[in-house]
């Protein structure tokens, strides 16, 4: 599998003129692994051992209980992506590695954030919630917890807007992805 240079691919257009694209050095790998003891540690250990950088990592069982899927965003400036993938492939419990290009995959990440608000800021916050199709999970007289699931790039935008307010806590899951339907039917 040859690594795809994200720079050569067209940018994804989102809602009008907004352009959202991942960093060129970031690559999303979907790693299908055997659901065995210590498998996450083997994958994570390989990254640190070989000097590869993980940007985000999400792991959960798949539709087949024998396997889990690890969605991992790699910063491939630290090592050629090809080398990352072939080293991963050597792990006995790694069954399959797919590189998902942003154009060929549906990608979602979940963001949770708790903000401190006052009477003035709550209006703008609510507008942002509406604009980004986020939802309110909890709210009291001072604090509000919001969740939003969307493209990582869009969450970056949302996060940058919300950083104007006092953030009490913020947590993102790391992105998960599946190939677009057109690639599945092939």
């Amino acid at each position: 599998m040859t690594p795809v240079d994200a720079k050569e691919k067209p940018l994804r257009e989102e809602e009008g003129t907004e352009l959202i694209r991942p960093k060129p050095s970031h690559h999303l790998l979907a790693i299908k692994v055997e659901n065995k003891f210590g498998v996450l540690s083997r994958v994570a250990g390989l990254f640190s051992r070989r000097g590869f950088n993980i940007v985000s990592l999400a792991v959960a069982p798949t539709e087949d209980e024998r396997f889990s899927r690890i969605s991992i965003v790699v910063d491939a400036e630290s090592a050629p992506l090809e080398q990352v993938m072939s080293q991963l492939n050597k792990l006995i419990n790694v069954v399959e590695i797919t590189q998902l290009h942003p154009d060929d995959a549906v990608e979602v990440e979940l963001l949770l954030v708790t903000l401190r608000f006052d009477n003035k800021s709550i209006v703008a916050i609510q507008e942002t919630i509406k604009k980004y199709k986020a939802s309110i999970l909890e709210q009291n007289d001072r604090l509000i917890t919001i969740s939003c699931a969307d493209y990582p790039g869009k969450l970056d935008k949302l996060e940058s807007i919300l950083r104007d307010y006092p953030i009490v806590a913020l947590q993102r899951t790391g992105q998960i992805a599946l190939p677009r339907l057109e690639f599945l039917s092939k």
């Binding site: 692994v33 055997e34 003891f37 210590g38 540690s41 083997r42 250990g45 051992r49 050629p80 090809e82 080398q83 072939s86 080293q87 492939n89 050597k90 792990l91 006995i92 419990n93 790694v94 069954v95 399959e96």
Partner: protein, 587 residues
């Protein structure tokens, strides 16, 4: 049939074909040592678990079979981490069974508990923690399969005490089920075709032979390839013996202490055919200056080696033997009815190239002061010892080394004839490797003479295994090139640290190696004069019933040449002082 987990393990090891294991018992592995009494397998009781691991490596290297070691939990397990790392670097098939505390105690900091699968994750091809006694046969079958197929390597099976004591059934699986493990087999025809395109056009080719050729038992295929193409070749430290040194095509070892001809031929080549080699930094020197004008064909069974250091023009991901055989078959097909597969003009250029590399070989041999002088006053040159040992050896003699200057002299000056007759620690550079590895080699090939060339620093690290050798009647022979220094470090301090010698001097009179050898049941000799070297080697070679240790007192200040300083380009190779004038004329 109901049996215990321990019995199931022993039975599984027997079923996997294990004949010998090297080990040392302890608390957590105790239940496994009990049924071992009735087993047909030979167990060799080492004095330190590191010895068990290196012995298993030596056994594997000379037999081509996996080496097996068994240790207890905690310190027993951690003591074998160095051999695991060594085997991982040098792709040696090793199966290590480690005791573990009971599953109920795991994670509680129990007595002699370490997280051994965690610790060995980075130095094994794979490892298993057995939690279900019914899975023992399956895991053992998988362990041997993983260790010995594809790019071979070490594996660990961590075996908790309660699993050993539990009752279970024994069912040997017909097949292994490892969906994520599919080692490459034969090469893609397209890759072979592209490789041949480069081969037919090459004017200054060099075949760069690595340890993969030994692992794949590809020496015969290699010999045929060389016969068909007439290309010169080099063999790396891991590949010594893959092709006879006596053949004129052979330019010797490349790399930091390689021969001038091997290093320079690679630098000037226009095609580098890498067979089971991995462009190690000790071979390439400064990577950006390595073989700058060469196209590269890279044959390797491990896809991760392709492009790791040098991006090849033609990658061939395949078993080395199958790849070379496929290339040979195509060349034979192309040659049918023709005088040569090469165009006449290309053939002429190749002949000129061959003449050039032969000239380098003749002009820049491995030189040392006093070479060939019968009345050289001494002290003994370490190179003389290796040359005399080699001269007195038959072609079935196995040579083992530790790590350092003595290793380089052994690799440079021994005349290798056959594969699997050379055992050395390459990638990890493990001092103390020689004595236990020699023991394992002798166990694997009991009818062959096994000589270890060792350094005095190395010998002191693992010499206790000579007690094992004496007791188990494993008559190895050890030649200590004793320069009273950690010689290679001293050489670097001399050359690159302005002769500021920091913590490298051992001792000229401690220990008394003859007494030490005798106390371990060996015959001991001490040799101080150049004229005594050959006679004592002859004496040592006539002893068959017990180990022999010869303490050769060698020149303390002798350096290994040629040398490419660390990080420098291979073009900046330093030759022996006696050849420098010749080299400057050449350049």
């Amino acid at each position: 049939m109901e049996l215990t987990g321990a019995q199931s393990l022993i039975k599984s090891l027997e079923q996997a074909g294990v004949e010998v294991l090297f080990g040392l018992p302890g608390g957590a592995i105790l239940p496994v040592y009990d049924p071992l009494i009735e087993s047909s397998m030979r167990h060799i009781l080492v004095r330190h678990e590191q010895g068990a691991g290196h012995a298993a490596e030596g056994y594997a290297q000379v037999t081509g079979k996996p080496g097996v070691a068994m240790v207890t939990s905690g310190p027993g397990a951690t003591n074998i981490v160095t051999p695991l790392a060594d085997a991982f670097m040098d792709s040696i098939p090793l199966v290590v069974i480690s005791g573990q505390v009971a599953t109920s105690a795991i994670g509680t900091d129990a007595f002699q508990e370490v997280d051994f699968t965690g610790i060995t994750q980075g130095v094994t091809k794979h490892n298993w923690l057995v939690t279900d006694p019914d899975e023992i046969p399956r895991i053992i079958k998988e362990a041997f399969h993983v260790a010995t197929t594809g790019r071979p390597g070490p594996v660990v099976v961590d075996f908790p005490k309660d699993v050993a004591n539990a009752k279970t059934d024994w069912n040997w699986p017909d097949e292994v089920d490892l969906p994520g493990y599919n080692p490459p087999g034969p090469p893609e025809p397209e890759a072979v075709r592209k490789a041949l395109e480069l081969i037919y056009q090459a004017e200054r080719p060099v075949v760069y032979v690595g340890g993969g050729v030994i692992k794949a038992n590809a020496s015969e295929a290699l010999a045929e390839f060389i016969k068909l193409t007439d290309f010169p070749l080099v063999t790396t430290l891991m590949a010594r013996g893959a092709f006879p040194d006596s053949d004129s095509h052979h330019l010797g070892m490349p790399g930091m202490h390689g021969s001038y001809a091997a290093v320079t031929a690679i630098q000037k080549s226009d095609l580098l055919i890498s067979l089971g080699a991995r462009f190690d930094d000790r071979v390439t020197g400064k990577v950006s200056a390595f073989a700058p004008n060469a196209k590269v064909i890279h044959v390797d069974i491990d896809p991760a080696e392709i492009g790791k250091v040098r991006r090849p023009d033609v990658p061939v991901i395949a078993d080395c033997a199958l790849a070379i055989e496929a290339i040979v078959a195509e060349i034979k097909k192309a040659a049918a009815g023709k005088k040569s597969v090469f165009a006449a003009a290309t053939k002429t250029k190749q002949a000129a190239w061959m003449a050039q590399v032969q000239e380098w070989k003749a002009m820049f041999p491995f030189a040392y002061d006093g070479k060939g002088e019968s009345n050289y006053p001494g002290p003994i040159k370490p190179q003389q010892v290796v040359e005399e040992l080699s001269a007195a050896a038959d072609e079935n003699t196995i040579l083992v080394t530790g790590v350092g200057q003595h290793q380089m002299w052994a690799s440079q000056l021994w005349s290798f004839a056959k594969p699997r007759h050379w055992v050395s620690s390459g990638g990890l550079g493990t001092m103390g490797f020689a004595v236990p590895a020699a023991m394992g080699a002798k166990v694997g090939q009991p009818t062959k003479t096994v000589w270890a060339v060792d350094g005095d620093g190395c010998f002191q690290m693992t010499a206790q295994e000579l007690i094992t050798c004496s007791q188990e009647q494993i008559p190895v022979k050890i030649a200590i090139l004793n320069n009273a220094y950690l010689g290679m470090v001293r050489q670097w301090q001399q050359m690159f640290y302005e002769e500021r010698y920091s913590e490298v001097y051992l001792s000229a009179d401690l220990p008394d190696y003859v007494k030490w050898a005798e106390s371990m049941g060996c015959v001991g000799f001490k040799v101080s004069e150049p004229s005594e070297v050959a006679p004592v080697i002859e004496k040592a070679n006539s002893i068959y019933d017990r180990p022999v240790v010869v303490d050769f007192r060698t020149d303390s200040m002798e350096k290994v040449f040629p040398m490419v300083p660390a990080g420098a380009s291979n073009d900046d190779i330093l030759v022996h002082p006696s050849l420098r004038e010749r080299l400057s004329r050449e350049q």
